[in-house]
């Protein structure tokens, strides 16, 4: 079942809530930035300067190290036309590449299907968190959803070994596909079987894992540790998905935003240290995105919903640097007070799909988009 340990692996870390682009990759050399952000602007001596007249958020020191080593790509001005400024609609669009209608097929659900068309490995894609991200949803395509690896198992309350096996045998028969089932029942059946089989496969991951790296005590570090455990167990998992947040910094932004980026940076640093220790880093990239950026002018305490944002891709295989351009902050170039996206997120996906996962991107992102080639 396990495929080559060195197959390319994608980890998506979703920054939920709308990460403030302008205070993440800070255009601190531009006076317009300081004029518009009386309450939340960073001073020149606070940011971590990189090239191009921008600097990283002071809490991103560990990520700046990765950038300096050439292992991080920053993609500027990302988004799509006519942002609805709704977290939820926007996240749906990012998940499905369907800005106009309700998409039901997640882009990574489609990628999972293309990676494993015969559904040979039900842990090809693993989602961390209590809910299943829509990006991973595609009818008929299995995705293992893990909250806590240590307690992952079906009907674990039945103590007698033989009795439990009998019950699980009945279970697998009851959940077998059946003619004439409606869509939801079919889905329940498939999910039940995946839960049972997935638990059997995944239970080896924490058992076989050992590492000298102590991860930070944060929710995102715990998720990345779980991802590392499964990756290192060599189960053939190619796509991992998790999120962190909330980045919805309408108020008291400076403290809140600093904590979020401290936790994300530290967790990623722990994650890569762990992977390096086990020679498991070079085939992993991490993609970070958020559903939108935030408004140019602050509201006296934080920032409201905006449009264009930044995405980040980290990994040894990444050609580090900045891609695209920081959108103009001049008042006449803004739309409803927001930065206008100049890089379509479907171009970012195209690069990841084609240059990393080796898949045909067009049917997944539904079109041709200019792709920043950072791989």
């Amino acid at each position: 079942m396990a495929t080559n340990k060195k197959d390319p692996v994608l980890v998506v870390l979703q920054l939920s809530g709308g990460n403030d682009y302008m205070n993440t990759v800070v255009p601190y050399t531009d006076g317009i930035y300081h004029d518009n952000r009386k309450a939340v602007a960073f001073k020149e001596n606070q940011v971590l300067p990189i090239d191009g007249g921008v600097g990283l958020n002071p809490a991103m020191g560990l990520l700046k190290d990765m950038y300096d080593q050439g292992n991080m790509a920053i993609i500027h001005g990302i988004g799509y036309p006519d942002s609805p400024r709704s977290h939820f609609r926007s996240m749906d669009i990012w998940h499905t590449c369907e800005p106009e209608t309700l998409g039901t097929e997640g882009w990574l659900g489609l990628a999972t299907r293309d990676i494993d068309p015969n559904k040979e490995n039900i842990v090809t894609t693993v989602s961390f968190g209590p809910s299943l991200f829509r990006a991973l949803v595609l009818p008929g395509v299995p995705v293992a959803c893990v909250d806590n690896l240590e307690s992952y198992g079906l009907l674990t309350g039945i103590t007698g070994q033989q009795q439990r096996e009998q019950i699980l045998d009945r279970f697998s028969r009851m959940y077998a596909p059946e003619m004439g089932n409606d869509v939801v029942t079919e889905y329940l059946g498939q999910t039940g079987l995946e839960a049972m089989k997935g638990a059997d496969i995944l239970k080896v991951a924490p058992e076989s894992y050992s590492s000298s790296i102590e991860y930070a005590d944060t929710t995102i570090a715990k998720k990345l540790r779980g991802i590392s455990q499964i990756h290192q167990a060599g189960l053939g998992t190619r796509i991992f998905y998790c999120d962190h947040g909330s980045f919805d910094s309408h108020a008291k932004q400076p403290d809140m935003h600093a904590t979020l980026w401290t936790d994300v940076s530290q967790a990623l640093d722990d994650f890569y240290a762990d992977l390096r220790e086990h020679d498991a880093a070079d085939n992993v990239i991490v993609l970070m995105f958020s559903e939108f950026g935030r408004r140019v002018r602050d509201n006296g305490s934080g920032t409201d919903h905006g449009a264009a944002g930044a995405a980040f891709v980290i990994g040894d295989a990444v050609k580090g640097g900045q891609y695209g351009e920081f959108p103009s902050m001049k008042p006449e170039d803004l739309q409803q007070g927001d930065l206008v996206p100049n890089m379509d997120f479907r171009g970012l996906y195209t690069t990841v799909l084609e240059d990393w996962l080796g898949l045909e991107a067009k049917p997944i992102v539904k079109g041709n988009f200019e792709a920043p080639r950072f791989l």
Partner: protein, 475 residues
């Protein structure tokens, strides 16, 4: 003979319908309760649910056993327990179900509010107002301290407008995306400047201070505003009045009620691009909403008496809260708050619905999106542990009922058990496996103490298997 058989079909149908009503308008009911209600009649039961006379759960009793919840200190993990206790023990199931309904829409979370008592106070407000006037509830919501903090209206000033509350009021609490402009969001937000919170120091001022609503006149923007085409010096209540008059609001609330009580709709952000599955039903509910001057009780009455509701049996996926509370009510907890209630209150969270801590203000994705391999596993494990425990009073009652029917062969045993935990309507494949299992374990007999003990264990094992069937996930 013919009369008896048609009468018994009639009884089965009236129990089935009553079970449907109680699953949707409450958290399910055990067989005794269903029989009592069916005898009383469907319409009378709807009326009783709408105008209930029983007792709520005893909050004082809860506090006596869990003083850790008492103000101003809340021990971690106890936060959601008070509400779970309310849901487990209320005699007014629809009132409590409406609390859950509004919490799923006006989703407010501990992750940011960090103040359990204010969240519980919000939930208490839903209990008081949840079946009343929607306009009044929106005003109360705009003045609810947990909500004000959750959506930053305390940072919404004349000198610096914060759009968080203003936007979500329109997008998630009333009209839905696509029915207003960005200018409307801004003007709406201006109208709520000065609506903020004050802290009230408790007598022993450690831990959290209580919050209360405060209107700061000097911070309110009294300038002229144009909102949804109307112009005036609007304050927050004027904005709410305008919102309530919009057909989009009536349709939005109607669709939410339909999604919660009748059949699963797509997720809310998609409503602007996907029409309702039953437009006539939405029209009827929306019309009732407007004509009754936004009276939720009137809309609920029309809904529960409609054919589209009665015909929608087993068409929804249970929410995690419904799974947990329904199971706990079925297995019949002691009236006294159990020591493990803190852990029980976390169970729905393990299944993807952490009450009082939604993933965001959008609330949860419902329907089939409740189900994934991890959450389904948690559901099955929890229900199997509960139903398989034959020492629980509700499970004992199930065993007693079976025993009263004498010796039971495998098919009868399966049929009776499915009836007593639902009814659960099992498909052919499920039924076959259950019957084979029951055949393997043998007939239920009650002649000696040993027989009774063995039969009780067999029932427990069968109930565990029933807890794991697909059909159990339907509401």
């Amino acid at each position: 003979m013919a009369t008896t058989s048609s009468k018994s079909t009639e009884t089965t149908e009236s129990i089935d319908l009553m079970a449907h009503l109680m699953r949707r308008a409450g958290f399910g009911a055990d067989r005794d309760d269903l029989e009592r209600r069916a005898a009383k009649g469907y319409e009378a039961t709807v009326e009783e649910l709408l105008n209930p006379e029983g007792a709520r759960a005893d909050r004082e009793l809860f506090l006596r056993y869990h003083p850790g919840f008492r103000r101003p200190v809340t021990s971690p993990g106890m936060g959601g327990s008070a509400w779970l206790y309310d849901m487990m023990h209320t005699e007014l199931p629809l009132e409590e179900k409406m609390v859950l309904f509004w919490h799923q829409i006006f989703a407010t979370g501990q992750s940011k509010v960090d103040h359990w008592h204010e969240l519980i106070a919000q939930v208490d407000m839903f209990r008081e107002m949840g079946m009343g006037n929607y306009r009044d509830m929106l005003v109360a919501l705009a003045q609810n301290p947990a909500m004000i903090y959750w959506l930053d209206n305390c940072d919404n000033h004349e000198t610096g407008v914060n759009e968080n509350w203003g936007r979500e009021l329109l997008e998630l609490f009333s009209m839905g995306v696509g029915n207003y402009s960005e200018e409307d969001v801004y003007e709406c937000s201006r109208a709520f400047t000065g609506w903020t919170i004050a802290t009230v120091p408790p007598r022993n001022y450690y831990s959290r201070f209580d919050w209360s609503f405060e209107y700061q006149d000097e911070d309110h923007d009294y300038g002229e505003k144009t909102f949804l085409g109307e112009t005036g010096d609007f304050n927050g209540e004027d904005i709410i009045d305008i919102i309530c008059r919009q057909p989009a609001t009536a349709e939005f609330i109607a669709r939410h009620l339909y999604n919660f009580f009748v059949a699963d709709e797509p997720q809310v952000p998609a409503w602007s691009v996907t029409p309702p599955r039953d437009p006539e039903a939405i029209d009827l509910l929306a019309k009732t909403f407007t004509e009754s001057n936004y009276d939720i009780r009137s809309v609920l009455r029309v809904l529960f008496l409609s054919d589209f509701f009665k015909n929608a049996r087993y068409t929804k996926i249970k929410s995690p809260a419904e799974v947990v509370v329904g199971t706990l009510r079925l297995v019949g907890q002691d009236k006294l708050p159990p020591p493990g209630i803190g852990d029980m209150s976390k169970q729905a969270g393990y299944m993807g619905q952490e009450l009082l801590n939604p993933p965001s203000v959008e609330g949860w994705h419902t329907g089939v999106e409740w189900i994934n391999s991890g959450s389904l596993m948690k559901r099955i494990n929890f229900v199997a542990d509960m139903l398989g425990d034959t020492s629980k009073p509700g499970v004992k009652r199930i065993v007693d009922r079976l025993q009263a029917q004498g010796n039971l062969g495998p098919e009868e045993m399966v049929d009776r058990c499915l009836e007593l935990v639902g009814p659960v309507k099992a498909g052919a494949a499920t039924l076959q496996q259950l019957v084979e299992h029951a055949t393997q374990s043998g007939e239920l007999t009650w002649d000696t103490e040993k027989d009774t003990a063995e039969s009780t264990a067999k029932v427990g094992e069968l109930l565990q298997l029933i807890a794991s069937v697909k059909e159990f996930q339907y509401c």
